[in-house]
Structures are given as C-alpha cells and as structure tokens.
C-alpha cells in the first residue's frame, strides 16, 4: 500500500506559496526554455514604481527565455517579513526575495552567497557604502545583492520658509541645488537651537520617539553622531560610556522640543505632521513631500531635502538599504544570479529611481548623479542632496556596529528611543543606563 503523507515542511511551503499568491497578482512571461524563476519583491509605496522593475525583469526574461513570476509583497503589516519567515522555515518558496535591512543577516544560513556578483559589481561601479556592507556581508561573505528598490535615506525634509522665519536658518544657502553643500555651521548645536526656535514659533520638528523605523533611525543617527555605541563588535555592553551619556543627554534636550505625544508616533505620524503644515521639519525620505505635492501643493513647494547636522563623531545620515537575495533552496540559482546582475546595472537602477520619483537610492556612490534627483520638483532641486551626491555624510544605521543578532534587537525594539523617553519623563541618567544594560543582556541570547 502506498502511504501518502504530507510533511510539515511541505505543508508550510504550500501555505506560504498560497499566501504569497494571494498578496499580489503575478505577471508571467511565456518563454520557457531557460526554466522558471519566481520573485517575491517589495511592493513599492510609490504608485507605478513596480512597473519599472517589471520592465527590467521582462527585458531579461525575454532575452534569456526564462518564465518569470513576480509577486509584489507589501510591507504593510509586515507581510513581507511573514513571507520571509514562512519560506525560510519551509525551505521552499520564491527563488529571489527582497530582504529589508536586517533580513540578510537573519536569513544568512538560507541564502546563496553572491560574492561573485558583488565582486563584479564593485569592480564596475565602485564601492558600496559601509552600511550596505555591514548589513549584507555576513562573516566575510555577501549573502544578498544591494537593491535599488526600497533603499532610502531618512535625512531632514525641511520647510524652507519656516526654518528661515522662525529659526533664521537658510536651508537653500546651506544646500544649494546643483552644488556642493556649505553646511559647516549645520551642527548638532545649530540643530537644537533651530528645534527650540521652531517649537517656540508653533511649528515643532516632527520627530517621533516610538519604536517604528523612522523614530529609531533618527535616534540612531544622533547616537552615531556622538559615537555612542551600546554594544561593541566584541559583544561588550558599553551603555554606560561617556559617549552614550553625551548622546542621551543631547537627544533628551532635543526631544523636549518634539510634539508632546511623539512617544506614540509611527511612520505615518511625521508625514502627516509635515503635510498638515504643523511642522517645520521631519526626518523622512521624499514620500511625505510626494503626498504634499498631491494634497498640499503650497506646502510641497517649501519642502527641501538636505543633510543631517554634524556631531563630535561626524555627520551621520540614516540609510536603510534593501537587498535582493537568492534562497539556497531555490531551484534555478544560475538564472537568479544572472537576473540580479541585470537588475543591478546602472541603466536598470536609473529606471527604478525615475519610476520611484527619486525615493530609491542605489547602494553605489557612483549612482547618485541621476538626473531625476536634480530635476524633480516643485521646488526644482528639492531632492538634489537627498542621495548624498557630494558624499559629505556618513551613511549609517542605528545600532551598528554591534553584532547583527544584538543590533537587530536594539533596532526592532527601539531601545534608543525608549531610553530617550525614559530620561525625558524624569528617570535619572543612571537608571536609564541600567535599564538599557538589562535589556541588552536579554538581547545577547543565542
């Protein structure tokens, strides 16, 4: 008698595939001789941005005669994380997947090394930034290819008029369109003074202290600007260092100028703060500006994207890269590698940047001169400095350079913003640092 059983793995795989199928309608190329390839990519916020990715893939699929299926999976409700978790558990699913920030490290054991691709790409295009390397190169091996789609910078998006009127800060003089920044005076002290002036004038900086990514990225950039590291690369807890104290002290003084309910803000709150006209500045990619262009054009005309203020440890800007990875259990790895090479070319990246209206930033510094950023408006030039074209900022991420498994916990649990909120509500510096130490001890588990 033949006994048919469904293994646990098969069961989860079927469930994951069914769920992914429901998420987005795929497009299918009819050519078949090169085999099949399935992709689970990030569903872009910007309407129409997926089309550029589809076109790039289709051009490759037609040439290589590969039947390609693409599922665009949203990050709303963390559906993309759920898909990755299910597929890595089931050891089955798509061939290529889009991996947000910490996911390459989390799934490194299930990802096909792509050192060969990166070696060629770096040779052609120059080096990637240090944050991309920290997040994508695990134990000296690249486990995913830096993606253009979804990679973003969360620097300041300021109201030029309010900054000039309330804080006497001339953003356009510091960050002129088409020219190098003249931002030597744009320091943490100047930033704090501007925050105080704008708050006094009734247009507070819209910076959150919640546990979602926008809030954590800003707190992380401030900590990095002071060189404040909570856990060093050798896994020593360094929460009670002088640098951490200085960063926490500064961040708390700054947070006094934030809106009173900033501890509950999510990634939409700051956008609404700017678009509603209540704020003089937020820390965000150009998505808030794009909404303002549609809903509040008079506000959009005053928004300018520019660089972060500098601190004792340099001018750190929060950079959040996305990656494209190949599951090690994928069925068509050679085709997957070929497609990723195609998706990483300069021409492909330029198409993706254009379709995303400048939101996406490629990982290669040599790709930050696309005409989209220079030309898009209104006001024209608002995004010229967004991709850091003059390389005057250090692109970093909160919790780096701690080991990934600890850094991911610091980041996802918003430890730095929680420290600021605790200190802000009156807890002493020592008690906040002891709390942080206790949390970090918990994050150490293996």
């Amino acid at each position: 008698m033949i006994k048919k059983t469904i293994s646990r793995r098969r069961f989860v795989a079927t469930g994951a595939a069914a769920a992914a199928g429901v998420v987005a309608a795929p497009y299918v190329s009819s050519a078949q001789s090169g085999g099949k390839l399935t992709l689970g990519l990030w569903d872009h916020w910007v309407p129409g941005a997926n089309k550029a990715t589809e076109d790039v893939i289709k051009a490759w699929a037609d040439k290589e005669k590969v039947e390609v299926t693409v599922d665009f999976v949203t990050s709303q409700g963390n559906k993309n994380l759920l898909m990755l978790a299910a597929e890595s558990q089931a050891k089955s699913g798509h061939d290529i997947v889009a991996l947000p920030t910490w996911q390459p490290a989390r799934h490194a054991g299930n990802l096909e090394p792509v050192d060969d691709i990166l070696a060629d790409l770096i040779k052609q295009n120059g080096a990637v930034n240090a944050t991309v390397e920290y997040l994508g190169k695990i134990k000296n091996s690249w486990v995913a290819v830096p993606a253009t789609v979804g990679s973003q910078m969360k620097g300041p998006a300021s109201r030029v008029d309010l900054m000039k009127k309330l804080a006497n800060v001339d953003i356009l003089a510091m960050y002129p369109a088409g020219a190098a920044p003249k931002a030597d005076g744009w320091t943490m002290d100047a930033f704090l003074k501007a925050a105080q002036d704008c708050n006094k004038g009734g247009h507070a900086f819209g910076i959150g202290l919640g546990t979602t990514s926008d809030s954590v990225d800003t707190a992380g950039a401030i900590f990095n600007a002071f060189g404040a590291v909570l856990v060093d690369q050798k896994e020593n807890i360094t929460a009670k260092s002088e640098k951490v104290r200085a960063a926490l002290d500064y961040a708390t003084r700054l947070a006094k100028e934030y809106p009173s309910d900033s501890a509950s803000w999510d990634d939409a709150s700051n956008n609404k703060w700017l678009v509603s006209g209540r704020g003089a500045m937020i820390m965000n990619p150009p998505s808030a500006w794009a909404v303002a262009v549609r809903d509040a054009p008079q506000i959009a005309e005053q928004i300018w994207h520019h660089g972060m203020p500098s601190g004792p440890n340099g001018r750190h800007a929060p950079f959040l890269p996305y990656f494209w990875g190949i599951w090690s259990f994928g069925k068509n790895k050679s085709a997957a590698k070929s497609l990723l090479r195609h998706m990483s070319t300069r021409a492909a990246a330029e198409k993706m940047v254009e379709a995303s209206k400048g939101y996406d930033i490629p990982a290669f510094a040599s790709f930050t001169d696309f005409k989209t950023w220079a030309e898009i408006g209104p006001p024209k030039g608002t995004m010229y400095h967004y991709p850091n074209p003059h390389n005057h900022q250090i692109l970093s991420i909160a919790a780096a350079p701690s080991p990934h498994r600890i850094a991911e916990q610091i980041y996802t649990q918003g430890l730095m913003t929680k420290m600021i909120v605790r200190h802000l509500r009156g807890d002493s510096m020592e008690s906040v640092l002891s709390y942080a130490e206790s949390e970090l001890e918990g994050f150490m588990r293996t």
Partner: protein, 310 residues
C-alpha cells in the same frame, strides 16, 4: 446440498454485514460524527497542528538549531518586560471584560424594554461595532486619536481646553486601548444577555411581583440567577478572546509608549516576527494557555455544578 447450505450461510453473513453497516450508518452518533468530520479535520489542521508546532518552536534556541527544553520560559521569567506584559494583559482583559459586561447588561435591559416592533432596528444598530472588522474600526479610532488630525482634540481645543496626548501618555494610551476594546465587544455581551433575558419565564416575574419584590429584589433573585450561566460563559469566552487580542493594540499603539500597552500577542509578534526570535515569540504566546486554562476550569466547573443541582 452442503454446497447450497454454505452458499446460504455466506449470503446470510453478507446480509448480516450489510445490515450491521447499515445500522452503523443509521446510528445518530455515526451520522453526527460524519457530519462533524470536516470541522474536526479543519480544527486539526488549523488549530491542533499549529498549537503543537508552537510548542515545538518554544523549545528551540533562538536560531532554531537545537532543543533547549524550557529555557525560553525561564529566560522570560527573568525579564522585567515580560512581567510588565503579564500585568498589562491582565489589566487589559479584566477591565475590558468588566466594562463590556456592565455596559452589555445595561443596554440589554434597555433594549428588552423597547416594544417588540421597534426592537429589531435597535438590536441591528447596536451590533454594528461588533460586526465591523476590528482592524478597520480601530483604524478609525486611530484617526480620532491622531496627533495631527485628532477629532477629539479639535473639539477640546475649540472649547478652550488643551489637547490630550491620547496615545503618547502611558495611562491615556492604556485607557484608549481598553475603550476601543469595550466599544467593539460590548454588543456581543448585549446580544447574549438579551437572549438570556428573553428566556426568563414571565411567571417568575409575576410571582415576584405578587410576593411584593421591588426592582432590586427582582433583579437579584430572579433575573441574575436565571442569567448566571450565560453571564459566566460570555465572560469566559470574552476573557479568552480579549486576552489573546492582537489587532486593537497592534493598530492603535503597537505596544508603545515604552512597551506599556503590549499584551501577549503583540509582544510575541514584536519579538518573534519583527525581532527574528521565533522561539521566544512562541513561548510568549503559549504563556496565555495556562492562565486561560485555570480560568476556564473554574468557571466551567461552577456551571456544571449548578447544572447538576438544577
């Protein structure tokens, strides 16, 4: 002759077998079993399998490479945040169920006293919060509490009062989470209590009236005893659902500020899915089981006891 006898024996046995098979299929219990079989299979697939898989996951290390027994649970017991989440889950569930029961009880009586003709539309309207998917209605509440566009703060400010940081202050945030849960869940209590009220025989009220019982005495000695089982079962069911709530907290606060609105399910999601520690997330979600089991045993035992007494 022998051959013919054997043939008739075989035929008799076959007929007997067919008969017993027929009898089995005609038995009410067999039919009931067959009819519930799809549901049993569904529960086994969607409830039992994930439950046992969660137990399996809870006994693995963070990278899910080795068996660690109960280490994840002992790790949790040492974490301050865990005990905070336990306390918050209890506050959330007990307070919300209490207010849902009180509001449901009062509204059920009010509706019960409306003449039959107009009662249906009231029942329908009052059920609206319960029938809207909670994630959607909570989103509407989120907009009402929104820092930039809060309708509540707009009203407060328009009458000269200062706005409230609805979700930014720990106590206000807890209040908001409970408020939304009560708003969504109270109609369920109302409809259950209304059904119970309608089943109380009028003769009991007439007898109480003849005995000279006042409103409070009628309520205490007639209405509440007759509704007691429904009250207990509804409270038990609601406690389980409220304890395991995810969507309201997730949409409204995501556990912020300072993790002080997290309940088990949201904290499990934060650590398991967002934080990449699936075994720890599974352990947190499993922690609800013993708490709810103890509650269920006590309440169900009481109901059975009183059922036997009756």
């Amino acid at each position: 002759m022998v051959d013919a006898t054997m043939k008739s024996d075989v035929a008799a046995m076959r007929a007997d077998k067919r008969g017993s098979l027929q009898r089995t299929f005609q038995r009410k219990s067999t039919i009931a079993f067959l009819m519930t079989l799809p549901l049993i299979l569904l529960i086994a697939t969607l409830v039992l399998y994930p439950a046992f898989y969660a137990v399996h996951l809870a006994m693995l290390n963070k990278t899910m490479e080795r068996f660690v027994g109960l280490s994840n649970f002992t790790f949790l017991f040492k974490r301050e945040t865990f005990w905070m989440v336990v306390m918050q889950s209890c506050i959330f569930a007990i307070t919300a169920v209490f207010f849902k029961a009180i509001i449901g009880f009062i509204v059920a009586h009010l509706v019960h006293n409306i003449p039959d003709k107009g009662q249906r539309k009231w029942r329908g309207m009052l059920l609206v919060p319960w029938v809207i998917p909670p994630a959607m209605s909570t989103l509407a509440w989120l907009w009402l509490f929104d820092p930039s566009y809060s309708a509540f703060n707009w009203i407060l400010e328009s009458i000269g009062l200062s706005g409230v940081p609805w979700l930014g202050d720990v106590y206000w945030a807890r209040f908001c989470v409970i408020l939304v849960n009560v708003w969504i869940g109270a109609p369920f209590f109302m409809i259950m209590y209304l059904a119970a009220l309608k089943s109380v025989p009028d003769q009991l009220y007439e007898a109480a009236k003849i005995d000279g019982a006042n409103w409070w005495q009628t309520m205490r000695f007639v209405t509440i005893p007759m509704m007691r089982n429904i009250i207990m079962i509804t409270a038990l069911f609601s406690t389980i659902v409220t304890f395991a709530n995810f969507d309201i907290v997730r949409v409204l606060t995501r556990g912020d500020p300072l993790d002080q609105t997290h309940v088990f399910a949201t904290w499990a999601f934060r650590l398991g899915i967002e934080g990449g520690d699936i075994p720890l997330g599974a352990s947190i979600s499993l922690f609800m089981v013993p708490i709810l089991t103890v509650g269920a045993i006590f309440i169900l035992r009481d109901i059975v006891k009183r059922g036997n007494e009756a």
